[in-house]
């Protein structure tokens, strides 16, 4: 049931965020997911671009206390509020790029191709990449402003983000699947972008949400996690240790399964998809909570619905 709700919300979000501008909907410049501004007529702008832009505009001390600073602060507050409101549900339920990745997963399942699983050690090695990318997108514009980087490194993360090349395809625009031969910097960045895009498509086919492992937005969510109002919570005392939550996790997390002391369920790479809540047959062991109140709790009935095909099956 939860999986079906998620699927419906994902597709509705995709339509709004990808095409909303065409019918007058625009959610501003602080959308906490990959709502790519390179998509003509999109319904909101990914905050990562805004963040780079505000840094890239080079706030001087005077500007910091003036309108420019206020504007940057305003969108930061809006982003923090939105990110806190739904927490990682933005990743699991809303992100258009995540849905595209999920489509590749559905295709793989349809073709009967085996999934690739990342071990805990592999995830541990890859996890810092998202923080590196977050640092890069924050530091790059500063270096450009200081004249230490070529101006074409402006928006340094967007230049290599696969969302920039792949999402515009859904409005018929292929011009970001190009190599830009203008100069060596644009050429290098576009080669990286094309390579990252190709690897993302291939990787997302074999492994659910592979790009999310590297996503700097997820890194931001992790930093803002103490503020999140929507969370997945575990009651360790009710856990039967069956491991269904781990097997259902699209990010291959087993931390939740092994957690025996704390109630936190959405650490690290968790995308807030709720798959674990749906898979768990121990009543009340796992729950999706908002402001402390349970929205959905695990139960035998919910888990049975998943097993009988009423929800998302992992594979």
């Amino acid at each position: 049931m939860l999986g079906n709700v998620r699927l419906a919300v994902q597709h509705l979000s995709f339509v709004i965020l990808m095409y909303g501008g065409r019918f007058g909907v625009h959610l501003g410049s602080a959308v906490p997911c990959f709502s790519c501004p390179y998509v003509y007529g999109c319904g909101g702008n990914c905050y990562l671009m805004g963040l780079q832009g505000y840094i890239g505009f080079g706030l001087t001390w005077a500007q910091l206390w003036g309108y420019q600073g206020l504007r940057a602060l305003f969108w930061l507050v809006v982003f923090a509020a939105a990110a806190s409101l739904l927490g990682k549900l933005w990743c699991g339920f809303v992100c258009p790029f995540g849905l595209v990745s999920d489509w590749l997963t559905y295709l793989r399942r349809f073709l009967g191709v085996a999934s690739l699983r990342l071990s805990r050690a592999a995830r541990a090695r890859l996890a810092p990449v998202k923080y590196f990318l977050l640092a890069w997108l924050a530091l790059g514009p500063v270096l450009v402003n200081l004249g230490l980087l070529h101006p074409d490194f402006y928006l340094p993360f967007c230049q290599i983000c696969p969302g920039k090349s792949l999402l515009p395809l859904f409005e018929g625009e292929a011009k970001y699947l190009t190599l830009e031969l203008t100069n060596s910097v644009t050429l290098s960045l576009s080669v990286v972008l094309m390579a990252a895009s190709g690897l993302t498509v291939a990787g997302s086919f074999f492994r659910e949400r592979l790009f999310c492992v590297f996503c700097p937005m997820l890194a931001l969510f992790n930093l803002l996690r103490p503020l999140a109002l929507a969370r997945i919570v575990k009651d360790p005392g009710l856990c039967q240790g069956c491991g269904a939550c781990s097997r259902s996790c699209m990010m291959d997390m087993d931390e939740l399964w092994l957690e025996r002391e704390h109630d936190s369920g959405d650490d690290g790479e968790c995308l807030g998809c709720g798959g674990c809540v749906e898979a768990c047959s121990s009543r009340g062991c796992l729950s999706l909570k908002f402001l402390g109140g349970t929205v959905v709790g695990s139960s035998p009935e919910l888990a049975r619905g998943l097993r009988t095909g009423g929800g998302r099956a992992r594979g």
Partner: protein, 321 residues
Amino acid sequence: MFWLAAPPLSRAGEASIYILDLAPPELAKSGLARAEAGLVVLAGGRAAAAKASDVAAEFFWSLRTAYLRGGDDHDAGVGYYQAASGAAGTVVTAGGYSSVDLRARVVAGGGVEHFAQTVFNLYGREGSSAADDSLAPVPAPAWPLFELTSPEPLYWPQTGQTFFLKFIPGDRGDRTVGADDGASDHDAVSDHDGAGAKTIVADNDAPADNNNGGGPGGRGLPLTVWEEDSPAPLFEIWAGADGVYAFTPPADPGLDAAGATSAKKLIFVRALPGGGTASLTLLVHRSREARRDLPLGLGVFFLAMLGGGGLIVAGRRGARY
């Protein structure tokens, strides 16, 4: 020659006050002060006003006025707003950007008039509440005017983009301009045989093939094209049979090597009867699209996709369904 320079808009959306360089190059080079005007954006990106600074007496300018036009042709709110000379104006924010047509006039010694115009994207600040009503629209001045159009509406003027310039003499009669210019209050006299204007090809880095050889193919007076700080005009352009000058800025390796927001000023100058000039300054950026290579991009994309997929298939461990 009198020319009007738009500011480099490398910080789009950030500032609402721009400094305009109104100094004729020959005066600037002689060490005289440069004149400036502050540009104040009004709400919605549809209007703006200029505040001229005091003009030094040694410029011998007896009059200077700047007008701004905001918005686009589809915008019912388009209008001219006279410079609030000496007043600070009200800084009102604007969402997005607007193509602005800025014009100015100076009267040099001897009463010779010079006109300057520039077209550029004007960015305002977001979150404005209302337009500044203190600046009432005034009728457009009957000055010589360049109408600048392009069949390729792009974000900002770029190399490789074709522009059409139509010269409208206003009430400064120009008997060499065709009646189809539409705004002339003088009869037209056709000097040429009506061949089409020559477009300067831009798809290479070579110097532009810069004119059509003295212009008998077109009619009217030629436009001389200057680049900022160039000691002499780069070339001339002649109008086609319809009185329209066609021009495609060629690729510029200097711009290509610089950042995407870098731009150069191209100045189109046309002589006026009585010794004056009318100029249009165009801020030209590098082409955003000309150097994109789709086949190469797709090649790298698919290579990476197949390579990555192949590596996974070859090296996968712990596969499960």
